[in-house]
Subunit: 383 residues, 2 copies
């Protein structure tokens, strides 16, 4: 499973002492090749953490031989010294692994605005390098957790090749990617350009359509590393499908583990004039705090759905809107539809279908309900 | 105080039985002239309640002789029959008051998607008409409350003329106006065009900069009625200042009474390249759930402020951003500034100053913290 499911990869996860709890907090993923092709997608936030700035540069070179990931500190908003810390991390890993620092990506997650304790992090890199193994994928996935309650891994096995991956993320999940770190590996033999196309296509309809709380992180990173060890060069559409399947699986795991959530809400926007309209409407619904509270209370409050749709610039006529909650069309033609008492909302997954009656395009956005537990988890000092 | 502070106005508030609690739920405000000039600003939500659609038409005529307001039902998403209910309300009030229905505005607040009980509402209009008095402003303000814990009124007295007003609103507060109904009255003698200019200028920097929870209502209505009874035609800038003062006072009262809130957060964006940039950044900060939770926990979490700024399109360089919380510059040049332990957040009002270091423009946005009480209040069935 995880990042070591595909041939050519070794990984490790160790406790470097970055977390006060003593839990694992440093992961290392190494691509032993023969290929080192890679692709990456990063946060759209204009305030980017040092490791994001670093890894963006690494990706421009086209090859990634290793990734160092740490929890216990985001290394964001730490100025030039923070960037030096990331650089030093890559250099140290390069020394330990006999690789070139310019091909080592770095990803960090945790509190913003605090320097990483390099006196613990660098020995942690050494410890991880010493523990690298083809069975290390699970431990690597454990080491990148922050407020996650479970570690997240996924694998898609195809004829002769594999795509595997790990992810972390539980809060601050939002468009343009969430506070999430994702490493995907494959033993398929594809060049960096093909990997980039597949990764962008996959993230566009998976991670980018997860919107737990509307808050975009400074650190989001999704990397796809290809070892070519299978010797198989799959058809690009088949490869994209497999990468999308793994991303979709991991994205769903992020939503299921979102901070304080008691409901996973699938928002299907149909009948849209364009996919962009469908996404805009879905996101607007996903970000409506009043609706998110209503779903938490198992209240099929379709008025709040219409209210959210009304704030968008999508093509629709108010008196043609239809809304179903768990399959019951509680709003038809912008007005009262079927009896809301028919809606069964006892289960964790809730589906809201918004029909704009303006075309044939559609999109799905995933979000969570808003709960007192979310507030508690995020109002604790320095959470 | 309230809408009867200015000469020429009478008002009343009664319990028509729209609310199950038996609390007052129907208000009437009548302009006895000599002038009936008026202006109005309505929700920017494209899903507009029937009374909004009606009152927009009334305002196009230029004169408003009376306003019927009800709590206990929003009459939104009720289709053509809902619009007929609003029309019937205006016609009934016209009959009771000897006025023209085309000059009677209607405003409603409460649950979306439910028809109003007209068999109770229309007798309520009669009862209110019978109780109209120059001291009825307070009772009118009480009758428009929903989840409000206090009624809201404000008055600005100037040389020879007065601007007074009432407002309701406690949740769903957002840009393009909040779920709020506001009626302002003045005995100044100004025509509809002057009133419109003053009202738009006033709301732009007051109600439009209140963003309690990012949720835009279907029913927001702000009306300004001028009786001309003072015989004074004030200078337009002086008049705009007085209307702005009353709007600002009422807007602050809305924030203070926001559902479940324990903090009132004043977000000052300074050093912006344009006022639009300042507003965009202020709103992005105001809508960041993670930050709102942090403020609730009295955590001066400036990283979440930078994170929110980073999602905007405003002009700024990440490494030049400065953030102060209650006057302590905890972030300087995009990195750690003064000791966060110096920030005192015990009091209800919290000021976040975001300096974009990109110009000389500024704006202030008001919001609230996000609390478990907000979740509870909005997750109860059909709240």
């Amino acid at each position: 499973m995880s990042v070591t499911a595909a041939q050519g990869f070794v990984a490790a996860g160790v406790a470097a002492g970055l977390k006060e709890s003593g839990a694992p907090d440093l992961a290392l993923v190494v691509n032993r090749g023969p290929s080192t092709a890679a692709a990456g997608v990063f946060t759209a936030n204009r305030v980017k953490a040092a490791p994001v700035l670093w890894s963006e540069q690494v990706l421009k070179g086209g090859g990634v031989t290793a990734v160092v990931l740490n929890s216990g500190g985001a290394n964001a908003c730490t100025g030039p010294l923070g960037f030096q810390d990331t650089h030093a991390t890559a250099e140290h890993a390069a020394g330990a692994l006999g690789l070139n620092a310019a091909e080592i990506a770095v990803a960090s997650t945790g509190l913003i605005g605090i320097r990483l304790p390099m006196d613990r992090l660098l020995p942690g890199v050494d410890a991880a390098a010493a523990e690298l193994s083809a069975h290390g994928g699970e431990r690597a996935a454990l080491a990148i957790m922050t407020t996650d309650t479970v570690h997240k891994t996924a694998v898609a096995q195809r004829a002769g090749w594999i795509v595997g991956g790990m992810a972390k993320g539980a809060g601050m999940l939002a468009p343009g990617l969430a506070t999430m770190l994702v490493v995907l590996t494959t033993d398929a033999d594809l060049d960096a350009a093909a990997l980039d196309r597949a990764l962008r296509a996959a993230t566009r309809t998976t991670f980018d359509r997860v919107d737990s709380d509307g808050c975009m992180s400074t650190n989001d990173t999704v990397l796809l590393l290809a070892s070519g060890a299978s010797g198989v060069a799959p058809d690009e559409s088949e490869f994209t499908e497999a990468v999308t399947a793994v991303c979709d699986d991991l994205a769903r795991q992020l939503i299921k583990d979102a901070e304080g959530a008691s409901k996973d809400i699938r928002i299907e926007v149909v009948g849209a004039a364009s996919e962009a309209d469908a996404v805009e409407v879905g996101r607007s619904i996903a970000r409506n705090n009043l609706l998110k509270c209503a779903i938490h209370g198992e209240d099929p409050n379709w008025g709040r759905v219409l209210s959210a749709i009304g704030t968008t610039s999508a093509a629709f006529e108010p008196d043609r809107l239809n809304v179903a909650i768990n399959g019951v069309w509680v709003c038809r033609n912008g007005s009262v539809g079927e009896d809301r008492e028919l809606v069964d909302m006892r289960f964790r997954e809730v589906t809201i279908t918004a029909d704009l009656a303006a075309g044939t395009e559609s999109a799905v956005i995933w979000t969570n309900d808003l709960t007192a537990d979310y507030v508690h988890e995020n109002s604790a000092y320095s959470s």
